[in-house]
Symmetry: D2
Subunit: 512 residues, 4 copies
């Protein structure tokens, strides 16, 4: 396992990073816009060397493998999933679910690439490339992130359908392809070393949809990150935002060379790549939910409301959501499925149930945490207000007491605020609705994964005392994942009739 310092050093790879509203970032490890997150990833690596974290992060050796970080295990059993899942849960809680992409997530992507290639009856070379790439990730700790490959909105609105793609081949060389174009939203590219660009990018080679692994530091790549989440003047008022503002971004490519061994032929849909990803999404959402519950509990204590029936009832509302997701993730790991290659996969049916439950619950959970503290949350002081002794004395009267100093109570209220009433929270909400596809996509996945259509339909006919036709509903799970969002391109002449756009690539897909 490499150290955090080694990771930090690896980021000085000549990458070109632009942060919206901040401009060019010369060195992500030192620039104020990015260094805090670099520190979090450094800590992520170093945590594996911390004795207090060994039990959580290290898979014990067994007959098939030496001891290794759970982050890099290719799971073969339900117990592997339980171990991996526990490591995701504990680390995600630290950031209140705000860090959604880690090197461990990158390894899940690499496992997904391998699985997607395996599914396609690939050439030996393509398969070997995928296996080698996953092994590289596992052995070096290189940090990989993911993009579905969809084009940004500007491309999708081009008048000529041929221009609505993300990428185009500029030329081919003996060793690979040279590409240009632009890729839509994906996450943490400023901190990752490779970006997987999925087959929604529009490049086809022969009969194949081509996907690519693009180094962030490759010549011709510009990583364009979203603006920072707005925050208070000091970390006291924005304790999460200061540390956990993982940056989403776009990638702009100008004549970027991709060697053949980093080109993978997969089906257009990113679903096979996502084989383990949705499980990780669920853990991150659960971490956010558990953190919300944790803050709600702490605030309840701090405001002397632990005997107050209505408040406890709100807490139970939160517990119901947390426990439902926990049950689903537990079931997914303990009732798993397997890939044809024999790798163990959290049961998607259970994962989908958990994700759908949390997607529905999220808005109200945030609202509950805004309700529980009462109006105190609105007027909590900043740390700088305590610098004036007179003001500090008055604040002690208005915010202190009941076992808390005013500053302690204010710190907790500010944490609650930053967790559910900040731009960071808004980003997490907006991001999660899109990165993982949101409710329509998760419902579509459950529709496709549910496998008792005919069994249940024919099963109920037993209650009818008459021969009945045999029922076949196999079209329902076979239908495509979700209706794609097709952007209507209005011609410049302002006609209101939408132009049909049969040739354009799908505009909405799992990004993240």
């Amino acid at each position: 396992m490499r150290t955090g310092a080694e990771y930090r050093e690896a980021l000085r790879d000549g990458r070109r990073v632009w942060v919206m509203g901040e401009g060019l970032v010369e060195d992500v490890t030192t620039h104020p816009a990015t260094r805090a997150m670099v520190d979090e990833y450094v800590a992520w690596y170093d945590r594996h060397l911390d004795p207090d974290w060994q039990e959580t992060l290290l898979a014990p050796a067994n007959s098939e493998r030496a001891s290794a970080g759970w982050a890099y295990v290719l799971p073969k059993t339900s117990a592997d999933l339980v171990g991996m899942g526990r490591s995701f849960a504990k680390t995600s809680f630290l950031s209140a679910g705000n860090i959604t992409h880690t090197p461990a997530y990158g390894h899940l992507i690499a496992m997904g690439i391998l699985t997607a290639v395996q599914e396609r009856n690939p050439s030996a070379k393509n398969l070997a490339d995928a296996e080698a790439y996953r092994a590289l990730i596992a052995s070096t700790g290189r940090f990989l992130t993911f993009s579905g490959g969809a084009a940004p909105i500007g491309h999708r609105l081009q008048p000529d359908p041929a221009d609505r793609v993300a990428l185009k081949i500029v030329r081919e060389t003996d060793a690979g392809l040279v590409l240009s174009g632009k890729i839509g939203m994906h996450t943490s590219p400023a901190y990752a070393e490779d970006v997987y660009v999925g087959a929604l990018n529009g490049v086809r080679i022969g009969d194949h949809n081509a996907s690519f692994v693009v180094p962030v530091g490759a010549p011709g790549v510009t990583t364009v990150c979203r603006k920072l989440a707005a925050k208070d003047a000091t970390p006291f008022g924005s304790p999460l935002t200061y540390r956990f503002d993982e940056l989403d971004g776009q990638m702009w490519l100008e004549e970027v060379f991709i060697p053949f061994e980093r080109i993978f032929f997969v089906e257009p849909s990113p679903e096979p790549i996502a084989t383990w990803l949705t499980w990780h999404h669920l853990y991150v959402w659960l971490a956010k939910a558990e953190f919300t519950l944790g803050v709600a509990l702490a605030v309840t204590h701090s405001l002397g409301l632990k005997e107050h029936d209505q408040t406890v009832d709100y807490l139970v509302d939160l517990i119901v959501e947390v426990q439902t997701a926990r049950a689903c993730v537990t079931a997914a790991e303990r009732d798993p499925t397997f890939t044809p290659a024999g790798n163990c996969v959290p049961n998607h049916r259970h994962v989908m149930a958990g994700g759908i439950a949390l997607l529905k619950a999220r808005p109200r959970m945030s609202e509950l945490l805004r309700a529980i503290p009462g109006s105190s949350i609105v007027v909590a002081p900043a740390d700088t207000d305590f610098a004036d002794p007179t003001v500090a004395a008055h604040l002690e009267e208005t915010f202190g007491g009941g076992g808390y100093t005013a500053k302690q109570r204010a710190a907790l209220l500010q944490l609650a605020w930053d967790h559910v009433s900040s731009a960071l929270d808004g980003r997490e909400s907006a991001f999660e609705l899109h990165a993982s596809g949101g409710l329509p996509t998760w419902r579509g996945r459950l529709r496709r994964g549910f496998d008792d259509y005919n069994a249940l339909a024919n099963g109920v006919l037993g209650a009818i005392d008459m021969p009945m036709p045999e029922i076949d509903l196999s079209n329902i799970p076979a239908a495509t994942l979700a209706p794609r969002r097709i952007n209507t391109v209005a011609p410049p002449s302002a006609s209101t009739t939408p132009t049909a756009a049969p040739g354009q690539p799908p505009a909405q897909a799992a990004e993240g």
Copy 2:
């Protein structure tokens, strides 16, 4: 395992049964009000002898036990729970979740009595009695049902608080107690052989709350069953109601003798008895949900709607609910807990999440099944309408086609109707809201079972860069289960001021 015929014979035990609206039932095995359900229980026993059902119903022998019906296994491992659960699921689906009480459920009650006695540091005799009683149930297949012991509404409104109890001791003999009184709603007493009467009955012996096993056929017992669910003139229109109208009832006792070995000292709350019962409740609700989904799927097929987006969307709504409950029950069995005596218990936290999800989902699930068939469900013909050849020909035109005869399609529509628009469905809904306590009680159980209050509350403090007070919220799970429904007893003088009623027994509790 006894045969169905043996069970039928056992019901001729001199029992006195009154069915509301029908009057006295001389012989439950032959009376039209009760014989269909007797037949279902007979089939339940005989199914254990049916080769097609062996794999589902029989636990294979292992080092600790011979082959046995899953219905009578004392579970020691997660695998035992999975096997038992599967047998509950398959048998409950047959009745669309309408048969909530079976001899298997009775054995879960007996296991609960044993557990409740074990928890109380009992006398050797009381413990031996509980063990012996459970063994008796397992070895004979005797059918036991359950009452929390709460008094009927009339008792609870008595002016004198001392009269608000269910039962009173008339006298004590060398061999036991003689009791009189009345017990509120419980289920299937007309078909059971014993009724467990829980400690809400109000009888105290020394410092102990006493609960009792009362034979249905004992002298002095009258079983008073609710009215039958209204149904069509022929089973064609009410295929479920004709077969699965399990009857709830009250028990009236007049000087009934209870031997000491059938008296068990337990805490007043029925919760320890319910250790395995809520898990079974969840299976029955899930069976109802799966049947709803199954009928919805069949109707979708029958009406040619399987390509219709809105209909498929409704089906996915149903699938989400079914899958969430399945995930929870899967987690409960595969991530179990254990009693101090080492018996394996489905994890209540997961069970509660599943039950709460289904309690919330139920009304809309029924509504969806009413919506999916379109107006055809409203005007579907009866079987007798086909007797007239002219009418039959017209009906073929209006209801036939698309691979279904008119009668086949009508039969399916009537099944849908009987499942979600009949008095049977209304009873199942009303019954489940009360028998298992409903949403407030399930939420209360989750509040008590959830065990991360302090871990989460203190965990989030790690995000605050300042020493913070240690948080203790152990009062929240320690609070009692649920606010009891106290009936306000208005004095005859029509004063509107409620009379305080501190001495009365709790009026609401798990019945079932």
Copy 3:
């Protein structure tokens, strides 16, 4: 205003009525399947002559009209709508919202026919016919009911698209048309005198979609009613079902003559006809909701729960739904719109908001009324149980007290049961989901009626300090009402590929 006796006499018009499960009904005024509802309609007419009802049912004379029943007023002002609405509310409450079709509703239909004809730039003759027909309804009190005209499912599944219509012209005469065919679900045809058959019936004359008024008693008409709602042996257990089982039905036509003056050319959609109907739907749903609240309140009183916080909280849940619908209907009448011909229409935007709120609320409202009574509702006795003096004495103990006799309390519990746990309730739920189109249709109506798309979209641009493009979203309200349910017709060869069916008439539309 004609008397009830005159109405009863008018039903002896040679009509041919078949009730599913009952067979042919010789005389609807005396047959047990139908006579109770005839009595209700008789009472409806006679109520207009009852001094106690004058204030509610009679519109005072004004400068434009003599005193008249509100039922037959052509509304010109908001005050007219308020008066009409109040009369609908009071009369609908009597039947707990179960009688959805009355002669007053028939007059709203006639007003809708007139409006629909007016909208089409009609011939003078067609317009005069529509005016004359409405005047006839108003002056005679003749009872008209409504069908959208859609074909039954059997027709819609015909292999030949040309056969998927409801009606076909057999021949034309000097005086009118002769039609044959079958019409899908509509309501109360056994009690009505005319049925309006909307333009979904598929008959076109020249460029016109033709709709018809068909006398129920016309030669060649068979009215086929749905099966009766199952009920208890005595009205004590089914007080609503015995009285208010309005029967839905189909109409079968064999060479039925329709005179030209009863043929109206309208657009295919029934929406213009429904101009006042949805408002009446909302009143009937509100009556059901208010009755639910009323029973919940009465049960709360009867069970001594009026001081019980959780019960009061449930009541407030019900009150919220009732009050929301009341607010919407109040707004609709007091902020009305007008037809081009100057008639006053309840504002559809407000009506839609109210209807959508109640459609969402209904399932949980029923569930709440099942929850509030506790398990007493499950075991309430029938009146016949009181005939046995011993049993009656015991019942007094178990159900009496607190100011109620056992029989009084049982009667109230049975009323609650019949209201929300009976086949009658199931029918009302299923019927309302279809007759008025259900949630998708009501949402579609609101989408079409909402008129601030461009104002709001361009309005927010004021917050942007930059010139912005003008926004035009007029396509959204202009889109058709709702995706139609197209039944996939599987060819006999059992291929699973759906046959495209471009020529078939719309299968789903407002019926009722």
Copy 4:
């Protein structure tokens, strides 16, 4: 009507304002933390002189009054309410519902004080004072804001119950009282001239609960405002936050003199004062909802999604919520009630229905606006990014097209972000949950205002063919508004037993 400049000048009244995180503000009209909102209020006054706004803001003269601003009308008729409501709607939309307190709202407070005093059978002097004060507000345009008077959390956790109050009398003089203490959250005190401090403050004079009007600029008053909502570096990314960050605050009083004519005796509950306020709350929430819908519509247009079914379905979800609230407010104004003194009041039952609907809808409405733009909202550029020509050209490719420049589309996406994913939005959500009491309080108000308990309960008994007891449920509306949040004060010895606190003033009440 005074000018904006006159208002601005009036703020230089010696007021002492401290903004959390910013420190002391010498002059609110020039300090960067406060000047933007001062400008908004200046514009509010000047708008009354703008010809384009006359029709919206000015009440035409009638027989009872000269032409006047709707803001200062004492409403006598439904038409007055409609006019006032329209003026609230149009002005609140400008700030997307973020400015909740205006001088017009202040006049509603003054009307509420008058009404509250009138209700108490007051002395002639107290009544005359209240009338004079309202007249003063109306004639001068002086800006009044509102506090319920509750103490901050620190006071409520004091060990001695006597210290849990907000204010104490220091001494009495010939002309008035001298008070010290601290007041919890209220809104816009930095911009108001007077603060009404309600009777929750704990001061009693004789048998009376005393409330006070305190000038913000009075000697001894410190206004302590909450921290600013965090925002982007330029207004482009935070167009709403830069302009509409109305500041909530506390008030600290040290020996502040209150003349007797500014002391009003009222009941402890602020409800009578809120007579017109909840109506205004509803308008502000509706403005936020309409703005959300407006942005959603604009974004739909901008992203070419106006033909996309799922997006249109989301829009209809938003329209349903907007229309429901519009219907309720329309009903409230057109079906009003009257105070005993003859002033016209929006019907609270309808207002409550509307408010409850929006309180439930808010979280999901925000979520929908985060979902509709797709991931483009996450990565939208800042205006400063366009300064670099190369970056600008690339941005044009990724964000331009379809009739929008990249900067126009980015501006719209930033507006969406600022509206539902910013700290400003979080504040609005948290604030509204408390300022107006949140869902429990609004439900409590509806419970108290609903007046058909007995009519409905006895009405349903008509369906029972038997004499029944008369039902009286008048205790339900008579019960107090809502359970108060009592903060458990843990003694320093860390005992977990809550201290009973009978003497403390209510901790939760309508603030704002």
